[in-house]
């Protein structure tokens, strides 16, 4: 049985529309105009135990709304969802003790107190046995190398350290399902890498189910085999990360290092689009299907010292998927 089962899930909001200007503001006192925003429009999804799924989409696509629905923060307008057999928006304590939600932009720890105090409170709220609590806390602080910061007020921690403490607080009760909403937002590369490495290690060791939203493709590439892309409230892709690159990364980048004096960038333009010309190095963008042909033509006509063929950056591929409206009016595609 799937850990997360979603069928036809919908959520619409009514949003007040205010026109510009003082007169419009006064008119708004008497008559308000509202617009209905359909944030989530009939999502179907099943996630098995132990999966690490990336939930991607442009801003306003409905990712966070879906996470809020699954964690019971908001009620849906239609459809059903079950997580670990519970209906999230019933907000039963038995469900709340089995999952956690971490939001990169929100702080759950007590700002003026050391994280150790917030952890102690979580122990009580989640009714964690003292031995288990101490073991889990020590394991997690050890893995994230923040043991020495436990007695420092949270407000005096760096953003990266705070995020690590937030993760520990969320994992103290050993949740079976973890929702991560942009956990690496605003972190520097080192902190991002540390959080990624921790999440990968933790998920592999515990086999918990994780749903992650992130705008950092490095997070996704490092952590998730399965990717679900949501756009305008609908799922437009559900499959592997490599499947996206095969499907949408229609072009490859050929990097060449020419022998001195061999072929100018202009000479090479006939093989593909010049992305970068920094003689003797040149980068070309070429359709994936003709890469072997182009390579053999270049090697036959020029002296090349070094060559490499790469997929386009993941960000670029994802941006293409985001702008894709779907086949047959947004039909979900699935390469599984």
């Amino acid at each position: 049985m799937a850990v997360i089962e979603i069928q036809g899930l919908c959520k619409s909001y009514r949003v007040y529309q205010k026109r510009e200007g003082l007169l419009a503001s006064i008119a708004g006192l008497f008559r308000r105009r509202y617009r209905t925003i359909e944030a989530v429009r009939g999502i179907d999804l099943a996630v098995e135990r132990g999966e690490f799924v990336a939930f991607l989409g442009p801003n306003g696509a409905g990712k966070t709304t879906t996470l809020k629905l699954l964690s019971g923060v908001i009620n849906p307008s239609g459809g059903t969802a079950r997580v670990l057999g519970h209906i999230p928006w019933k907000r039963e304590n038995t469900y709340r003790r089995r999952f956690a939600l971490v939001m990169g932009q929100k702080n759950q720890l007590w700002w003026d107190l050391p994280a150790a105090e917030s952890f102690r409170l979580h122990q009580q709220i989640y009714r964690i046995e003292p031995e288990q609590f101490e073991r889990t806390r020590d394991d997690l602080t050890g893995m994230l190398s923040v043991g020495h910061l436990l007695s420092q007020p949270v407000r005096e921690l760096s953003l990266g350290e705070r995020m690590k403490m937030e993760l520990i607080a969320a994992l103290l009760h050993s949740p079976e399902v973890l929702f991560l909403d942009e956990p690496t937002i605003g972190l520097d590369v080192v902190a991002q890498y540390n959080v990624q490495a921790f999440l990968r290690h933790y998920q592999e060791a515990r086999r918990i189910t994780i749903l992650l939203t992130s705008h950092y493709m490095k997070d996704v590439a490092a952590l998730c085999r399965r990717v679900v892309i949501i756009s305008l409230g609908r799922i437009i892709y559900d499959g592997s990360l490599s499947g996206i690159i095969d499907r949408f990364g229609g072009q490859k980048v050929i990097s060449l290092q020419m022998s001195n004096g061999q072929a100018s960038a202009a000479d090479l333009a006939r093989y593909g689009e010049i992305l970068q010309a920094d003689p003797p190095r040149v980068k070309l963008r070429v359709e994936r299907s003709i890469v072997p042909q182009v390579l053999s033509n270049i090697l036959a006509a020029h002296t090349v010292e070094d060559v490499s063929v790469e997929d386009p950056p993941l960000e670029q591929v994802i941006a293409e998927v985001f702008s894709w409206k779907g086949e047959g009016g947004g039909r979900m595609m699935n390469d599984k």
Binding site: G72, L101, D112, Q124, I125
Partner: protein, 276 residues
Amino acid sequence: MLARATTWLTILRISIEERLVYRGDFALGTLMRFLPIVTQIFLWGAVFEAIRASGSGADSVAGYSYHDFIAYYLLTMIGRAFSSMPGLASGIARDIRSGTVKKYLIQPIDMLGFLLLYRTAHKLVYYLVAAIPFALVFWLCQRFFPGWPDAITVAAFLASLVMSFLLGFFLEATIGMIGFWFLEISSLMFVYMLFSFFFSGHMFPLDMLPGVWGPLVRVLPFQYLAYFPAAVFLQKITGPELAWGLAVELGWVVLFILAARATFRLGVRQYSGFGG
């Protein structure tokens, strides 16, 4: 049951620790509370001086002598120390607007219970710190009091204070949770503060009110926030009237507990998770 009690104690302990972080602000806030009483002593001193100078021979206003007034204001200060909830309603509304309220929906914890313990911790720390200046002020002003009332009156006074704390908490929490619908409640809070200031007896003893105003304020819950405990201590309300007053106060407390619970349940249903 034991687990729940331990959770409550932990929340209380951590809230107390948090409250003790900002020592300077806390000490200043505590001392500032005594400023209004000083102005009241001078104001009523001047009023009675003027009455005496006019040669009318009256030594009281609406049944209150100069000493009665000062004793009354000192006692309402104690009442307010229990029933006032600075930042409670606005804090709840802010949490709703910013989305911080999510944590109460995600974690296995009751928001109202948590906030009540948090507020209790604040009050306990406040009483602990303010006990010495309060004792000093009352000792300096002891000549204004007729003397210690009997044990039953003191017990009734303490009960009315505890209930005024609960009434103040659930009343303001209910107002704060209106933020689930309106997001911005500062105007509503202003109106509430205004009503509370007049009708709680904070400004003047409510039994001074003429005409229909007296019976009117008696059917409102505000009098229990300041007037009622002071009147109990001064033995202006005694016997069956006292028992009835305490019963009505308890009724208001229960009513606002139910109102706060209902507002929370309906508000969460309406809540759409603002703030990302």
